[in-house]
Symmetry: C3
Subunit: 139 residues, 3 copies
Amino acid sequence: MQIVKKTIECRGTADTDLIDITDEVVAIVRESGTSAGIVNVFVPGSTASVTTIEYESGALADLERAIERMAPRDMHYDHDARWGDGNGYSHVRAALLGPNVAIPIDQGQPLLGTWQQILLCDFDNRPRSRQVIVQVVGD
Amino acid sequence: MQIVKKTIECRGTADTDLIDITDEVVAIVRESGTSAGIVNVFVPGSTASVTTIEYESGALADLERAIERMAPRDMHYDHDARWGDGNGYSHVRAALLGPNVAIPIDQGQPLLGTWQQILLCDFDNRPRSRQVIVQVVGD
Amino acid sequence: MQIVKKTIECRGTADTDLIDITDEVVAIVRESGTSAGIVNVFVPGSTASVTTIEYESGALADLERAIERMAPRDMHYDHDARWGDGNGYSHVRAALLGPNVAIPIDQGQPLLGTWQQILLCDFDNRPRSRQVIVQVVGD
């Protein structure tokens, strides 16, 4: 059993970015030579999350609207009142969705559904460079 | 250290199903002979999630109502406008709750609270057969 | 590769507690002697969750308000009608946020962002003693 760690670099814009990182994760799993195991996908930082979704523009817009209902961009946030960086909504969204998913590996591939992709959500209000950490544990 | 992978088969109905899969996970952990480790429970697909809850009808109904407030069944979804399958709300719910939980194993048992069960949420609007992937990592 | 399991003891109050457990997790990782691996942080029980956030009072208050919108304390819960313990909202909140996060370890440290802390959310309505389970998997 071994652990392999790699990093995916992503560049966000100044608004919410929903980025498909499935291909990068699949490539890292393949290159690790792991046939059976788990891949943990984690984003460092307090204004971003990782989840899974069917990556098509309709479902992405629907998700963004649901998140906007949960933590609207244009309301009062104590974080903004204290720090003035205007991304209080980003912090709340990231805490609600969480920073990681752990996906099984079978026959050298993440065992995702046919229409299920791995989604990096960059909720910050300014362009950020993100380093997503991908760890493969297995044989 | 070893990894054992097993599948739990679940059958949903045409509406939101909240299914207790604790007994099946406990059995897989026991049969794996793992005394100390982690069990990762993951559902492939983009309209289902895994979490934990006290599995009693009151808390389940309360959870379902909260999810209905977050992503109501009867509103406009772009996903439905594009694809016509009417399960836009299912995709949003699944992305918000996430596809997996990872639970410690101690003395050959998942270390759950007394009133804490492992919950498969099948949010789809049509009957689905689900294969939940259970992986046991440990000694 | 080895697995080390430790417990963090936390004491909640009678209301929602948002507790920073980063220092305790960092210490457990360091004492395990693991330089590369994963740390899984899991809370047993059905009225608590683990996530990450920038641990400052503004963001914490903002998160608490968002969770209050998702599962308000003062509304009807079937769980309360059946069991009379008044913590139906706690169960719903815990199921929505989930019981664990899994964080990469690099050079003997959890690979968190600079402003990202590990957060225990104790949603219960009475003082509880919590045993958070911290497992370190790696080399």
